[in-house]
């Protein structure tokens, strides 16, 4: 510690510890337990040293802990770079810095590191609760910083907190200006570390029995859709995702996509809507069957999957239009149809046998389909989220033994039956239905709404959607997953509809979260351009934006300054004082301003010294002013005389 540097008081150490604990707390669940334990220990140690006024530990000991901590991070993460390891390292160093905390300068450094730790929290979560918590943290850190500068006469914790609150409130206009005008770049401002996308759920390009049922246990939002017109009937809300062609006996997979031109016929008006897709680390962009246009930076496969050119790591918002009644694929090429009839040899013999038998009963494809659906409907098939596990011949076991399954079981069984009977068929996965948020009238589609259905190819009709699940459980399609599943099945709490109040809260919250996503997190380059265009700014190139940013910042600061300064300037009603200010103003313009703390007699004396030619007039004015303002004289005639003298005074 350098001699003479201001020493931190115990109070300031407590404040700093509390502020850092507050900022670091959300990380506690993300870093390995030993880092949390180390940080808590170091903070408690610092608190102990401060409480009993003991000396700080030696530098060598700290170096030892730094080395140990860095090694520990390397062992835990395999690296010391990247988001997770970086944050872990930052937390360790911050806690160690506390043990070097002796002077005001150290404290300020810690405060700034605390602000940085606030930012790191946003690398993990950008939700409203996180933002609010971080706002609280920033408030507290700022109050800590203000508190550092109360050397004596500390007025209690309310004063720094209030000052910090005022500071933050004053920064709001600037924050808004920066938010609206700061030039956005396509994609994130800097590349997030690669490990930032772990643990995101969503559909995949393969399907095994149970994979969609698993997904249905998550109430995470897959995407939200806002319709320009009325929301279509639930039975039409088939959100198309990966199309699965190839079956190896157990797993359905998408195989290589074909790219081609979209060709279809329709006789209906398109449905217009906007989708805000949550990141899912894959390339699909969901759209209602059948997409009529493509969002920017996408390609469409020839089986109508829309694929983004890059994996979707950020929330994407795109406008879509779809035709809900359509015909397509009537002139399908034979190799494609052959692929849609292929079945692996040696699997599901009983199903093949059944298909042959049913084919004999119904030579027409449409009759066969009707019969199979009737079989699902009339035999006691059971729709459940937790079906019994299936063995090697999964479709056989499902059709003849367990007879209970989730949508993927029905879709798979139906497709295998079709293919065995020689009808080209494929599985389409995606989402079905969704929940209308009555608060702002948009559709929430959750992972729990994941679904699988079938498309069969019929001569003269092309690809036709068949949903075998609808045969077993019509409610699934008409009223959603929660209505179709038995109460005993585990469903995420938020999808359950038992509690009306819970639903209301959930809808309101989702509505707020949606606006947050749309307008705060989703304020991308494109949105910014749209928004500025509505103000008549046609070409917001980044140079223009930077210029506008500077101008708007200047304006915001000026307005704030005007508001703050207005308090200082009160209107003067006293004619004597007003006239005297005028007198001072006249002299100030001649380079002889009165110092605010200079009395009238002193001022007059100084003026007489500096401008002897004015001495007589100045002394007249000053003497009258003094007797009017400080004496007992309040004669209106004297007031008039005084204002006249001031009016006629020439500096």
């Amino acid at each position: 510690m350098t001699a003479g540097a201001p020493v931190l008081s115990l109070r300031n150490v407590w404040w700093l510890l509390a502020a850092l604990a507050m900022v670091g707390a959300p990380h506690a669940g993300r870093v390995p337990w030993w880092i949390t334990a180390l940080a808590v220990t170091l903070m408690a140690w610092r608190g102990y040293l401060a409480r009993f006024n003991l000396g700080l530990p030696s530098r060598w000991l700290l170096l030892l802990v730094i080395a140990g901590g860095t090694a520990g991070v390397f062992v835990s993460y395999g690296t010391i770079f990247g988001r997770d390891a970086g944050v872990a390292l930052l937390i360790i160093m911050l806690s160690l810095k506390l043990l070097e905390l002796a002077t005001l300068r150290d404290a300020m450094l810690l405060v700034f590191l605390g602000y940085f730790l606030v930012i790191t929290n946003f690398l993990y979560s950008q939700t409203i609760p996180t933002a609010l918590y971080m706002l609280g943290s920033v408030w507290f850190i700022t109050a800590t910083m203000i508190g550092l500068h109360f050397a004596v006469r500390y007025p209690g914790p309310a004063a720094p907190l209030r000052t910090a609150g005022v500071l933050l409130a004053q920064s709001v206009p600037l924050m808004l200006v920066f938010f609206v005008l700061f030039p956005r770049v396509q994609g994130p401002l800097w590349g997030l570390p690669r490990d930032a996308y772990a643990g995101i759920t969503g559909l995949s390009d393969t399907m095994t029995p149970g994979s969609i049922a698993n997904l249905s246990l998550s109430d995470a939002v897959a995407f939200r859709a806002t319709f320009n017109g009325p929301i279509p009937n639930p039975t039409r809300l088939y959100w198309r995702g990966p199309v699965l062609w190839d079956f190896d006996g157990r797993t359905w997979s998408a195989g290589r996509p074909y790219f081609g031109k979209m060709r279809y016929e329709t006789n209906s008006a398109p449905v217009e809507y906007t989708i805000t897709l949550e990141p899912h680390s894959k390339r699909w962009m969901f759209a209602l069957d059948l997409p009529a246009r493509m969002p920017p930076a996408t390609i469409v496969t020839w089986d109508f999957q829309i694929l983004s050119t890059i994996p979707i790591h950020n929330r994407v918002r795109y406008e879509m239009s779809s035709y809900t009644s359509y015909r397509y694929g009537e002139e399908e090429r034979e190799p494609v149809l052959a692929r849609a009839r292929r079945l692996p040899e040696g699997y599901n013999p009983r199903t093949r046998e059944l298909a042959r038998r049913m084919r004999g009963d119904a030579p027409d494809d449409r009759d066969l389909i009707r019969n199979v659906l009737a079989k699902f409907r009339n035999e006691n098939f059971f729709y459940t989220l937790s079906p019994p596990p299936l063995g090697e011949h999964s479709v056989d076991e499902f059709l003849f033994a367990t007879k209970s399954g989730f949508c993927e079981h029905y879709a798979a069984a139906f497709t295998v039956l079709m293919r065995a009977a020689g009808i080209p068929a494929r599985i389409v996965t995606g989402y079905q239905g969704g929940e209308v948020n009555p608060i702002t009238d948009y559709l929430i589609v959750r992972q729990a709404d994941a679904h699988a259905w079938v498309e069969v190819w019929l001569e003269g009709q092309g690809w036709v959607r068949i949903d075998p699940t609808a045969a077993v459980s019509p409610q699934r399609v008409e009223r959603g997953i929660a209505a179709a599943i038995p109460v005993s099945d585990p469903l995420p709490l938020l999808v359950r509809t038992d509690y009306e109040w819970l639903r209301r809260i959930r809808f309101t919250w989702d509505s707020i979260a949606n606006n947050w996503n749309q307008w705060v997190l989703g304020y991308t380059q494109e949105r910014q351009r749209q928004f500025l265009r509505s103000f008549g700014i046609a070409d917001p190139a980044w140079r223009n934006l930077a210029a506008m940013l500077l101008v708007a910042t200047g304006i915001a600061v000026l307005i704030l300054a005007a508001l703050v300064l207005r308090k200082l300037k009160t209107t003067v009603t006293d004619p004597v004082l007003r006239a005297y200010r005028r007198f001072c103003g006249k002299l100030a313009r001649k380079g002889l301003p009165r110092h605010p703390a200079e009395g009238p007699a002193d001022y007059a004396a100084r003026l007489a010294r500096e401008r002897p030619e004015l001495a007589k007039a100045v002394s007249l004015v000053s003497a009258l002013y003094i007797s009017l303002r400080y004496g007992t004289d309040c004669d209106p005639a004297d007031v008039r005389e005084f204002t006249r003298l001031v009016r006629e005074f020439k500096a």
């Binding site: 050397a151 400080y630 004496g631 007992t632």
Partner: protein, 305 residues
């Protein structure tokens, strides 16, 4: 009557050379019926000032040299048994005078100090169950060595507050110093001083000082000064209401000396440093405003409304 004040000031100024401001402040303190603390190193004329002032005003003058073995009775007086009358007779101490010079007040023990300070506050003395009123006017000029000198009991803040003003004399400037070196012995000068006014006249002047007009605008300024000391982090604690009253009384007395019927902000500024200097301590961070210029800093900070 104001002329006689001017005469007092110029007569004292002949003895204490080049210290016109301090003499005026001392007179203002007397007119405001407060007590004066002079703090400085030995030999700059503290005692001479007190003596000259008392002589010029025609007041009874007593000097008490404070030492570490001074007892309260040495100040207040004692009752002694008289064989003739068979009764105890009170022999008044040196405190029963108009002007008391309490020399080197911080060399005495706190007990002796408090005997003096209580008398200053109450304008009366209570010994052996009997209360005796002190003569009027009653004016204590205490001198104090800077507290870091050896063998001193510095006055605590609460007792410093009993003094209306604290002034420092400081070294004379070169011109005054030369005049001092060339001139006659100060003690001879002191003995030649003649009173310029009667005691009644002084009491009348004190009454007039009380009646000096202070307008709302002036009170605004005084309040602004006080508020600044309470608000600003530069001071350990703000000025008390008593300090505010002291400031106002001194400003009135100063206006009277200046020959005005009303006080103006300049009067407040003139007495500010001697009134608040010992009542206001700057905080550690505000070390730049140490000691004497704490008041200068304050008066520069506050705009005159």
């Amino acid at each position: 009557m104001a002329q006689s004040l001017d005469k007092v000031i110029s007569q004292v100024g002949n003895v204490i050379l080049g210290k016109d401001r301090q003499i005026r402040l001392a007179v203002a303190c007397l007119l405001a019926r407060g007590h004066l603390l002079i703090e400085d190193i030995p030999g700059v004329g503290k005692t001479t000032l007190a003596h000259a002032l008392a002589s010029s005003l025609g007041l009874a003058f007593q000097r008490i040299q404070f030492t570490s073995d001074l007892l309260p009775a040495d100040i207040l007086g004692v009752s002694i048994y008289e064989r003739d009358s068979g009764r105890f007779k009170f022999h008044p101490g040196p405190i029963f005078a108009h002007v008391i010079l309490a020399d080197e007040v911080n060399r005495a023990t706190p007990k002796a100090q408090s005997a003096l300070l209580e008398a200053m506050e109450e304008h009366q003395v209570t010994t052996e169950g009997e209360t005796r009123t002190l003569p009027r006017p009653f004016f204590v000029i205490a001198t104090q060595n800077p507290s870091h000198q050896v063998g001193t009991f510095p006055l605590p803040e609460s007792q410093l507050d009993r003094f209306l003003m604290r002034i420092e004399l400081g070294y004379p400037d070169a011109e005054a110093e030369r005049a001092l070196l060339q001139g006659v012995d100060r003690r001879d000068l002191l003995s030649q001083l003649t009173p310029c006014m009667a005691v009644e006249e002084l009491v009348e002047l004190q009454q007039r000082a009380k009646r000096i007009h202070t307008s709302g605008a002036l009170l605004d300024y005084v309040q602004a000064l006080i508020a600044e000391t309470r608000r600003s982090p530069d001071y350990v604690s703000g000025l008390s209401p008593r300090a505010g009253l002291a400031l106002l009384h001194c400003a009135r007395a100063w206006a009277l000396i200046e020959g005005r019927e009303h006080a103006i902000p300049e009067d407040v500024q003139a007495v500010l440093s001697s009134v608040v200097g010992h009542r206001l301590s700057p905080t550690g961070e505000a070390d730049r405003v140490n000691g004497a210029n704490v008041a200068g800093h304050l008066s520069r900070q506050v705009a005159i409304p």
